[in-house]
Symmetry: C2
Subunit: 343 residues, 2 copies
């Protein structure tokens, strides 16, 4: 709630309070960090929400006089590099990494997700900011809200609530975190709060078209070739309710790509009207198979199918690994899926 004086007297400009449970704690948190070195950790194989949240929290803390910096066991993905600006990022084995007095994690559903440094930091995490339902609250303080579409949404909301000044790089990083974790505003967690916060982030300098350019218009020719081979492989089963696509290990060599570049391919079969479950089967270097399952609605439980192979996940998105022959494995998978898509 912000008070302003108008020419006619004192009026209340009603502003939304986004995170009433977390925001009141932010000023004292920052006060306790002055004079300390603060590491802000993200998770392994970082995504847009992880990097965006690290960039934003580090920049805001530094802007408030705290010596904060980001630490990440895996490098920043090529399509997110443009959003980091001059934010200090370190790998954990860097000789330049300052020894942290305090540690904060963002977007890590368990402490293990930060990598091998987790063991030494158990019980010592000052604050965990996260939106994953599986987060047990491993921080001394926890800002965990599972109704939020992104960790960046929580940070953006707290910063707005507290009237924190955000520079354009911070606003853009938070925007990218929200945009990527909502499937660019397509997933069910896309809420009033998501759009309201995005409108604030644009006021602070976020640029959606530039973000989209970096995220979606910087593909490699190899990735498009890999996609072409994947689309050629599509098979339809069970009255077109199941669609399976294959990635043979040799395709990476043929197209000059690696595994990470198959990200999102399963959305192509999933986009088909008749398809209830889309499957991506990826042959591993050792000849085993990795399966990714996607359904369109939570009532079609792909986590149960994945569990039959020793895997797991969410109702709509699950995965597993398998060591049997492709033929055996596919027969078992199709048999399990037949029941699932007929339910």
């Amino acid at each position: 709630m912000i008070w302003m004086t108008s020419p006619k007297g004192t009026i209340i400009v009603s502003e939304e309070v986004y995170y009433p449970a977390f925001s009141p704690n932010f000023p004292s948190l920052v006060a306790g960090l002055h004079g300390k070195k603060v590491a802000v950790w993200g998770h392994l194989r970082p995504d847009g929400d992880c990097i965006g949240s690290q960039v934003a929290l580090v920049r805001v803390l530094r802007g408030m006089g705290v010596n904060a910096y980001a630490v990440n066991a895996h490098p920043i993905p090529y399509n997110l590099g443009a959003f980091v600006g001059d934010t200090p990022f370190f790998p954990p084995d860097s000789p330049d990494l300052p020894e942290a007095d305090e540690t904060i994690t963002v977007d890590c559903s368990t402490l293990d997700r930060i990598g091998s440094s987790a063991a030494s930091l158990k019980g010592k995490i000052l604050l965990a900011v996260d939106h994953h339902i599986s987060n047990p609250g491993f921080g001394l303080q926890n800002w965990i809200d599972t109704d939020s579409a992104a960790t960046a949404e929580i940070l953006a909301g707290v910063f707005c609530d507290c009237g924190v000044r955000m520079d354009a790089t911070t606003a853009q990083a938070l925007y990218v975190g929200i945009a990527t974790d909502t499937g660019h505003f397509r997933y069910p967690a896309t809420s009033h709060r998501v759009f309201s916060l995005c409108s604030h982030l644009l006021d602070c300098g976020a640029r959606p078209a530039e973000a989209a350019h970096e995220l979606f218009e910087k593909e490699s020719i190899g990735r498009l070739r890999l996609l072409t081979l994947f689309l050629e492989s599509l098979e339809f089963h069970h009255d077109n309710r199941v669609c399976i696509g294959f990635i043979r290990h040799s395709m990476f060599g043929e197209t000059g790509t690696d595994r990470s570049q198959a990200e999102g391919f399963v959305d192509f079969p999933r986009s088909i009207d008749s398809v209830k479950v889309a499957v991506l089967i990826e042959e591993q270097a050792d000849g085993s198979y990795k399966g990714s399952l996607r359904s369109k609605r939570p009532s079609v439980r792909v986590d149960q199918v994945a569990a039959a192979f020793g895997g797991g996940g969410h109702a709509c998105a699950a995965g597993f690994e398998c060591r049997s022959t492709l033929q055996e494995f596919k027969a078992k998978l199709l048999s399990l899926l037949e029941k699932t898509v007929s339910a």
Copy 2:
């Protein structure tokens, strides 16, 4: 500006005014329409913004006691049908179409865009609502704002400004209009106002995930097969700065599709980092060719390349038709593009 009474007395809740030039005219416009039959026309080959704007304006007027209905010379596309609800839509030749006392157009850049009825309606359009820069203002009243990303954005803003009650179907239709005309929040016109209005539309019942499902998860198998053939055809030229993809006429038969289902394919080559100009060449039934050109920035002028073939368009999106052989035509096109992408 909305006045509310709080327990502490009368306070002003400051609300944004989105369209101060248009909104004050809405109440008198509606007052003048009572007792009349009002046709709300959209344009030929209607898109999400057109249908969404028609649905919303007709429903809001009907909610205010005006006998409004939508008229469209072309049918509602298959992927937009779910957003119409019980809004009355008529083709112009329907025996059930009421004879209109007043006519409003939405999203029509010229009156001709409504189709062959344009001649008889010249000079008689009560109101034109539009965001196209080429609109000459052919209405007696015009709500034309070229800074708006969508016609639906203008309508949503006026309705919010005027405190108009929107039902869930209206809010969803406006959301779909905004989402489709911003390239799902990717184009440069994606502004603070866009996100702010979307947050209001969600309060009124818009459902982004349901909209995304209808828009992006109802593809046909044929369209995915056509996409596969298109991706297989991609050729790279001029140091990978130009990418050309082909659609032979026979592909439609092979995949059980038609021309309309190649919509958006040119975005795949356009998504590649090195590509400055993406081209889709489509063989027509009569053996001639249709070219669609897309560049990533306005400084790479594809309209000038299209003009050399007698076509035209915008700086970043242009098209043309061509009757020469594919070999001749491709040689000329590549020669023109060499200069364009080197500039």
